[in-house]
Amino acid sequence: MANLRDLRRRIRSVRSTGQITRAMKMVSAARLRRAQDAILAARPYARKLQEILSNLAAGVEGGQHPLLSEREPRSVELVVVTADRGWCGSFNSNVFRRGMEFARDQGERFAGLHVIGRKGRDYFRRRPHTRLSEHTDVFRGLDYARASAMADDLAQRFIEKKADSIYVVYNEFKSVARQNVCIERMMPIERNLEEKQAYSPQYLYEPEPEKLFVRLLPLHVQFQFFRVLLESAAAEHAARMAAMDAATNNASEMIDNLTLHLNRVRQASITRELIEVVSGAQALA
């Protein structure tokens, strides 16, 4: 049976942990707000880009751009988007697991990983998978310039045929309470842009549609990659917020239990002492 001093010490330690988790939850909530705003801010651009792309795709017959070329996938690469920090529940491990599954399913064709986030880097360092590139500290002050430079590097690998297709695995931000690990193909670009719009005026194109299309596709890749990073950042904060909320609740529950236990132990020792005093007095009487 634990003694009083140990119990008090234990309660104190759990309480201070609870304070930390509560503070972290608050910080994550604030960061989540900002990350969500960033997603919303990117939306008008996304919509317009998509609109122009589908308009062009409809007009361009079988536009031949290197980013569209579907070839026998002999070399498949995967971009793993993880967080720089832990304490966010299963956020990182879910991505690891999906990434490993993907690598296994691809078998011989799997050529290597591009790891984003310190957690992913540390994890895959201890695994046999080839790491083609590593990026850390991407999410703090995430900016488009950085994201587009990374996307350009990936596109370059694809165009130079070092990779025949590139996938990305990341946590999609569904809602504050839900993140969803998903794998998407980045390259070659899926040709599902052809949805005809109800309203499409007869445009003039400058330069001609084929050339415009060729200029737009790299932008599309850049933006999609940027979006993936934004989603992952928001999902990370949401996951951390949920994890810290659970931890704070657990801490207070634990404090309650320990306090109850402490009081029982304390009461028991008082009772025992009383009995000793009383029976001692009786013996003398």
């Binding site: 651009y45 317009k48 488009y144 370059q156 003039l204 400058e206």
Partner: protein, 138 residues
């Protein structure tokens, strides 16, 4: 009937930079600078890094854009640019540095993606400096 104003919207991946009414918008197209007035034929056009001028009632505003696209409709213009800064917001010192860096890099590089990027950086920096200088001269 011709519309008498253009609704201009400038979007970058991280925000909506501008949403305003204008009489004329001058943009840096790939084939050279061109102006758009209300009632323009619908057009999709690629933009270079350069300066964009928004002429409104009584005052003009100048922006440095970092390349992208514009969709022109009869009474609407949407500009999608990688960056877009108001002349007053341009960090001249930073642009100056970027210019030097890009120039240096361009000298030592073989043709390829890196050279393209350095070239783009150079254009952006030049556009920024030019826009900033012009606006400070009034």
């Amino acid at each position: 009937m011709l519309p008498d104003k253009i609704t201009l919207e400038v979007l970058t991946p991280d925000r909506r930079v501008l949403s305003a009414e204008a009489d004329e918008v001058v943009m840096p197209g790939v084939g050279g600078s061109f102006g758009v007035r209300p009632g323009h034929h619908p057009m999709i056009v690629a933009l270079e890094a350069g300066q964009m001028i928004v002429r409104g009632s009584g005052h003009d505003e100048t922006f440095a854009v970092g390349g992208g696209f514009a969709e022109v409709l009869r009474e609407r213009v949407s500009v999608l640019a990688s960056t877009c800064e108001r002349a007053d917001d341009i960090d001249v010192i930073r642009a100056q540095r970027a210019l030097e860096r890009a120039t240096k890099r361009l000298r030592g590089l073989a043709p390829g993606i890196d050279r393209e990027r350095a070239g783009h950086a150079l254009h952006c920096a030049r556009a920024r400096l030019w826009v900033a200088r012009r606006s400070s001269e009034g």
